[in-house]
């Protein structure tokens, strides 16, 4: 059943109603003009919501219950790794030693925090096979920017001006965006029939003007590229660096290390592979790990440990540093949660998480085949997958008259967050599914059955999916109008 329209807090309440009444002053009243110059003060009171406490609570609880998130249902969002966030992390992050830490506190009064960050750097170095880590970047995309800026510093230090960065046509959209922001030009590399990098195309495009190749392995098709050491050789032969986009690290933690494959720089998405609530704008965290030759350019300050075991922030730590990438040391709460995850799972647990993620993805793929939907939604590349897989809805569109978007919208009525649609771009009508390691067999069975049910229903009447969803607070949104004439604020009547 469709629920009522969401209202804003400004549409609730009445003049004079209050959720909170400030206590009487117990200090002498001061003249406002002496506290704040008159020209900086409002001439009229701000139009704020005037609601009672129950109205206030109900408003936000009502909104929160309309949220669909990892805690309410299956969220198979490919390439975003929306994985379960263990509650233990919240307890640890809430400990006052962490939560009440102030960014201006001196290193001598933040020894525990610095030790945690130092240890997290070591752990990430171990997972990636690249020993030198900076925790500063605030998101995966920020880590990418750091990595490409390091690459620029590396080449300029050698007196070289290079102009292009290679990205495969399966790459995450952030890769070309980062390349452009860092002042390079994007050159796309093609994909071979197995879903990996087209080596001939790479050889043709790898020249002395290339600064870097940005790659993720496994890639967004859920394919692990077996030619990775050859790819690394081709790239290194022309003097370029090899960058690892860590978005898909959830598939290989404890199994394979980017450093061992020949990568020079890795970014991690702590909020993906190492758990913490994400989506909706963060907070995220995108540390980078680099090889020995990239080390001098890392961001300062560097966390250092003295002979006596104490920790400090060394502003001149990396001799040819690209400098600071943000104020303070990064999103510390994310470090706490990720460090808790790494410590509680251990090396074996991280490996188990990756193995189970890959097993779950392949189980779901097999289950879909068992339901007989593979001819309508075939796997785009290969037979098996890593932690995620890409289906093509092209035959479904041709045979049943419903698009991937229609399938995604109808999944909402079945109580599932839809997978990523229309990405990667090289797959027609793409559906990118990632189930993660903590989902149960019953959940995966239910999801496969829902897809089978939607296709069976569409064979009878495609209009049902074409007009879905029916059970959500709003029906199908006009995406074209939202992009062309966005309405991003609610007018307030005064």
């Amino acid at each position: 059943m469709q629920r009522d329209r969401a209202t804003t807090i400004f549409e609730k309440g009445a003049a004079g109603r209050r959720a909170f009444v400030a206590p009487k002053l117990d200090v002498p009243e001061a003249d406002a003009d002496t506290l704040l110059p008159a020209h900086l003060r409002r001439s009229a009171p701000a139009r704020l919501p005037e609601v009672s406490e129950p109205e206030l609570v109900r408003h936000y609880v009502k909104i929160s219950r309309r949220n669909f998130d990892l805690d309410t249902g299956f969220y198979p969002l490919g390439s975003c790794t929306m994985k379960h966030n263990p509650r233990l992390h919240e307890r640890v992050a809430a400990l006052s030693g962490h939560s009440r830490l102030h960014p201006m506190q001196s290193p001598e009064h933040a020894q525990g925090a610095l030790e945690l960050m130092y240890n997290l750097e070591r752990a990430l170095g171990e997972v990636s096979g690249l020993p030198h880590v900076s925790l500063q970047p605030s998101a995966g995309s920020h880590g990418e920017l750091a990595g490409v800026l390091l690459t620029r510093a590396f080449h300029e230090d050698r007196g070289q001006q290079r102009h292009t960065v290679l990205t495969p046509d399966t790459s995450h959209g952030t890769n070309p965006a980062t390349v452009t922001m860092a002042g390079y030009t994007v050159v796309k590399v093609g994909t071979n029939v197995d879903g990996g990098v087209d080596l001939d195309d790479l050889r043709a495009k790898a020249d002395e003007d290339v600064a870097c190749l940005m790659l993720t392995n496994p890639n967004t098709l859920g394919v692990f590229d077996p030619n990775i050491t050859e790819i690394a050789r081709i790239v290194h032969d022309v003097g370029a660096t090899l960058y690892y986009d860590g978005a898909n690290l959830n598939a290989i933690m404890g199994k394979a290390r980017p450093g061992d494959m020949g990568f020079d720089i890795v970014h991690f998405n702590l909020h993906k592979s190492f758990t913490q609530p994400h989506g909706g704008g963060g907070p995220g965290s995108g540390p980078i790990a680099v090889s020995e030759r990239m080390r001098p350019y890392l961001m300062n300050p560097r966390i250092v440990r003295a002979q006596d075991g104490s920790f400090d922030l060394d502003e001149q730590g990396y001799e040819k540093s690209i400098g600071r990438l943000r104020g303070f040391q990064g999103n510390y709460g994310c470090f706490v949660r990720s460090y808790a995850y790494i410590c509680s799972l251990g090396a074996e647990g991280l490996r188990d998480a990756s193995e189970t993620a890959v097993l779950n993805a392949n189980y779901l793929l097999a289950k879909l085949r068992e339901h007989g939907v593979a001819d309508k939604l075939p796997l785009a590349f290969g037979e098996l997958c890593m932690h995620e897989f890409v289906l093509s809805g092209s035959p479904m569109k041709k045979d049943l008259g419903i698009k991937t978007l229609d399938l995604a919208k109808r999944l909402l009525d079945h109580g599932y967050h839809p997978p990523t649609v229309y990405f990667p771009l090289l797959v027609d009508e793409a559906l990118l599914v990632e189930p993660t390691e903590t989902e149960t067999k019953e959940t995966l069975d239910g999801f496969a059955a829902a897809i089978a049910a939607i296709l069976a229903e569409a064979a009878e009447d495609p209009a049902i999916a074409q007009n879905a969803p029916y059970t959500t607070p709003v029906r199908r949104l006009d995406e074209a109008a939202a992009a062309k004439t966005p309405r991003i604020r609610q007018p307030i009547e005064t």
Partner: protein, 128 residues
């Protein structure tokens, strides 16, 4: 939205672009298949008049609700006119890809290049 169609008087590039050649001037746009695959187009980023285009290379971008995509030039030459109307009504690319949805007019540097393009039947065959 119109039914799928590939007018016989146009020439086609396998990257889903069409060209209507008139002497040494050609009009370019994207095919019905391309606009259908893109979904609703919300923005057209035009090239500048006077800039040159190379056959097989991108000369503009279209943004749909799904993605931003390159538009490939079927033939080489210099841009002499841009369909500025698409700024206000990019949906014309969906509604009338061969008419109001035209993108640029180009003075061809080598009209014989058009011998390399596909006719409607050959293009349609690549889609199946």
């Amino acid at each position: 939205m119109a039914d799928s169609s590939y007018p016989a008087e146009l020439l086609y590039h396998p990257e889903h672009d069409w060209a209507q050649v008139d002497g040494d001037v050609a009009t370019f746009g994207i095919t019905w298949f391309a606009q259908d695959a893109l979904g609703e187009v919300v923005f057209f980023d035009p090239p500048e008049v006077g800039s040159s285009v190379t056959a097989g290379e991108s000369y503009a971008e279209v943004e749909s609700v799904k993605a931003v995509s390159d538009v490939v030039a079927p033939l080489s030459g210099e841009i002499i006119e841009v369909n500025l109307g698409l700024g206000d009504t990019p949906e014309a690319i969906n509604n009338d890809p061969y008419g109001d949805g035209w993108m640029v007019k180009v003075r061809l540097s080598d009209p014989s290049e058009s011998d390399g393009l596909l006719d409607a039947a050959a293009y349609e065959a690549t889609l199946s």
